[in-house]
């Protein structure tokens, strides 16, 4: 496939890996965080870890929206659907994520109307096709996904579709990175920045992380060459004592981001004063809620939200893995009590979860 195959070229990969070995030749230990779960999966899928010298350590970041969602939000969404004979629509990634009362799929087995959609627009179409029912879209995702939810809400308003709402769990990436930097038990030297989030927000929001916190940022694409090149960029910055925002993914990410997407997001969403993240706790201004003028399409303003606060399973160490303090196999439950077939925590479920990546690619 174009724009894919060229960035998987074996010769260029070898060359870039050799470059990384040279850059890391001093032997100093480098700790780089790949923020995005998509990068974590690519690193394991393509065996990139084996190409890196031992003193270049990749720490997996919190960029997996399913993983950082506290269980209580899933239970809240499912309780609204079950209590009101509502169609619960969500991306496939959500279906096996356990809430305290079971996953969406388990609720389906109990008779709750759960549907998988590929796009929020599909959820809106479902509402149009079922005028006698209410369809609630359980929205998750960072700034990559939030614009499509926002645009869907604008279309719902424009078409006057009243039997549709959104339960917003959209989160924003910069506050999460800051929370990681503020954690006393985490030491990160540089960041491999999330490519697709950055195609929306642009490069500028990372400047304070580089300039004020002194952490280099290399915004990266998702193919093996992209990731290796970004690692090389971050290492070079560290070696030269620079801390800047560099854009490796220039074919997709523009410095100023996507104005159209940012515009619709701003029209529909506003920042929540605070939002709870699994593993990171409550983070100020880290999530998006629907503005009051769209209250008619906001499940949280329209229905009574139970506001369930659920304790995470005690034995699971999802929080530590999310913050990069612990690697997935260092969790007590990894691979025995917690597997992709019977997940205890969301990190084992999501196609962006670090535990799922380890389980899928490390054990073969």
């Amino acid at each position: 496939m174009k724009f894919v195959d060229e960035f998987r070229d074996a010769g260029a990969i070898k060359q870039t890996a050799a470059q990384i070995r040279r850059l890391a030749g001093s032997g100093r230990h480098y700790r780089l965080m790949e923020v995005c779960g998509g990068h974590t999966h690519a690193i394991y899928r393509f065996g990139l870890k084996d190409l890196l010298p031992e003193n270049v350590e990749m720490i997996h970041g919190p960029g997996c929206p399913v993983c950082v969602l506290p269980m209580g939000r899933i239970d809240d969404g499912l309780a609204i659907a079950a209590g009101g004979d509502i169609i619960f629509a969500a991306f496939g990634d959500m279906m096996r994520v356990p809430g305290a009362q079971g996953s969406p799929l388990q609720h389906k087995a109990r008779g709750v109307d759960i549907r998988i959609v590929y796009s929020p627009m599909d959820a809106l179409k479902l509402a149009e096709a079922n005028p006698a029912r209410h369809v609630m879209f359980f929205a998750i995702g960072f700034e990559t996904t939030a614009p499509s939810t926002a645009l869907t809400l604008l279309r719902a308003r424009e078409s006057g579709i009243a039997n549709f709402s959104v339960f917003s769990n959209h989160v924003t990436i910069i506050p999460a990175i800051r929370a990681i930097l503020d954690s006393p038990d985490i030491r990160i030297d540089a960041f491999v920045g999330p490519g697709h989030v950055s195609s929306v927000i642009g490069c500028r929001p990372y400047i304070p992380i580089a300039r004020d916190e002194g952490k280099p940022v290399a915004i990266s694409g998702f193919e093996p060459l992209d990731i290796l090149q970004s690692i090389a960029m971050a290492l070079r910055q560290l070696n030269e004592g620079r801390a800047e925002v560099e854009n490796q993914y220039t074919r997709v990410v523009r410095w100023e981001g996507n104005a159209a997407a940012l515009g619709v997001m701003d029209q529909v969403f506003e920042s929540r004063p605070a939002f709870e993240w699994r593993g990171l706790g409550s983070i100020a201004h880290s999530a998006l809620r629907i503005r009051r003028e769209f209250a008619a399409w906001d499940a949280e303003q329209r229905f009574a939200v139970p506001g369930l606060r659920v304790l995470e399973p005690e034995a699971a160490q999802c929080g530590d893995v999310l913050r990069g303090v612990r690697k997935p196999p260092q969790c007590r439950l990894f691979g025995n009590e917690c597997t992709p077939e019977r997940p205890v925590g969301a990190l084992m479920v999501s196609s962006e979860g670090a535990c799922a990546a380890y389980h899928k690619y490390q054990q073969v």
């Binding site: 260029a12 997996c64 991306f91 960072f142 614009p147 996507n258 962006e352």
Partner: protein, 77 residues
């Protein structure tokens, strides 16, 4: 969630909310164009996420990237 796939626009379908017919690895699918910064045309490549074309892929930037990568391999440590 943030994963996106490249597709090539075969045809722009005009209307109040323009769509595009896109070829994604041989599969044709309709995507929304409303989140693109500026209008797209047939033949162009876009990155598709959740049914929306999110961004145009710059062929020129891709070529430049690959050229830089080749140069990087030749540079002394």
């Amino acid at each position: 969630m943030c994963l996106a796939i490249p597709g090539q626009i075969l045809e722009v379908i005009p209307g109040p909310h323009p769509l595009a017919l896109v070829d994604v690895s041989g599969v044709r699918r309709k995507v929304e164009l409303a989140l693109l910064d500026d209008p797209a045309a047939a033949g162009e490549w876009v990155l598709i996420h959740a049914g929306f074309a999110m961004t145009r892929i710059s062929e020129q930037a891709a070529m430049e990237q690959l050229r830089l990568l080749t140069m990087m391999g030749e540079e002394p440590a």
